[in-house]
Amino acid sequence: MRISKIRRVAGLSALLALCSLLASCEPPQVYGSVGYSSYSGGGYYGGGGMNTSIRVGGRIY
């Protein structure tokens, strides 16, 4: 009975220790997020709206 209780306490302690260890880690990288999570700039969001004078490039050859 006493040994069983000690085992339970030991197991719980180990689990708490593991949780603590994991909680202290950096958030794991989300699949596919390499490099993008630390980027704070922006791309093109179309703020300028439709503009008939805009020249778009494209493939030439």
Binding site: P28, V30, Y31, G32, G35, G42, Y44, Y45, G48, G57
Partner: protein, 283 residues
């Protein structure tokens, strides 16, 4: 449990290769992959699926921790053509939606060093992403975001662009000379100035081993941040733009003829990420 307790470094990202038919060659300067960063993944999926017939799927290899659909592969005609990253899963407040252009290198560590030396900012240092190879994310010397990859099994072979597939990649920047110098230093590109509309020199083509790879031009949208713009080959730009708004996107430049030949248009998907449309060949 033991693996996890060993530390966070045990958790790695494993992305599948960029092609299912690798060549074992690395074509320096070639754009080999496109990732869509989007904060509206479902709407984006529908948008590109309806417009271009693209199909989205979860990768089979899942090693990282996070939501299962935070990264999707994109196929066209059964062929891998890109990926989609759900930026909501990154926990970011800013909208960083955009298409990311990924350029091939032979030695990514050396290329990253050259990028830093040429005035670029290393957003993410070279890192293994499993079967895909090693990848780095860079902000160029003018502020545009792009990625570099040293593929593990090699790049896909050059092929003719197909309808509703990628056609061309081009940097829109506020300082063409500075940007050209940066990309020349990093990739070893040679450049050619091309008359595009009515000027003698208004478009710069960067080549590697006599192969045109990417273009650079002045950002046509005043005040917008420098950005890589990717072109999709379409049969009829007007037919595509007619469907854009119903799918949650915006038409930013209506379809128009180019003096040099063909037609172009510029649209934004539901997240605001821009993408260009172009007919090909020119005549």
């Amino acid at each position: 449990m033991v693996l996890l307790a060993a530390g966070c470094t045990a958790i790695t990202v494993n992305l599948p290769p960029i092609t299912e038919t690798p060549t074992d060659e690395r074509y320096v300067g070639k754009v080999v992959w496109h990732d869509l960063l989007t904060n509206t993944p479902e709407a984006s999926r529908r948008f590109y699926g309806e417009l271009f017939g693209w199909e989205f799927e979860q990768p089979r290899l899942f090693v990282g921790v996070g939501s299962g659909d935070s990264y999707m592969l994109i196929r066209h005609n059964g062929k891998l053509i890109g990926g989609m990253v759900d930026t909501n899963a990154l926990g970011k407040k800013e909208n960083i939606s955009q298409w990311i252009t990924t350029i091939s290198v032979a030695d990514i560590d050396a290329a990253a060093d050259r990028a830093a030396g040429a005035g670029g900012k290393i957003i993410n240092a070279p890192e293994s992403i499993g079967d895909r190879g090693r990848m780095a994310v860079i902000e160029d010397s003018t502020g545009a975001l792009f990625a570099m990859i040293q593929t593990k099994a090699g790049d896909p072979a050059d092929s003719e662009p197909v309808h509703d597939g990628w056609l061309w990649d081009e940097l829109w920047t506020s300082d063409v000379d500075r940007a050209a110098g940066f990309y020349q230093a990093v990739f070893g590109f040679q450049h050619k100035d091309r008359a595009f509309e009515n000027a003698d020199r208004d478009y710069r083509v960067l080549e590697y081993a006599d192969k045109p790879r990417v273009g650079i031009m002045e950002n046509p949208f005043e005040g917008e941040r420098p950005v890589w713009v990717n072109y999709i080959r379409v049969e009829d730009p007007s037919a595509v733009t007619a469907k854009v708004e119903a799918l949650g996107g915006r038409v930013l430049v209506e379809a128009r003829a180019r003096p040099i030949g063909g037609e172009v248009a510029f649209i934004a998907g539901p997240s605001g990420a821009g993408v260009a449309l172009q007919t090909w060949p020119l005549d």
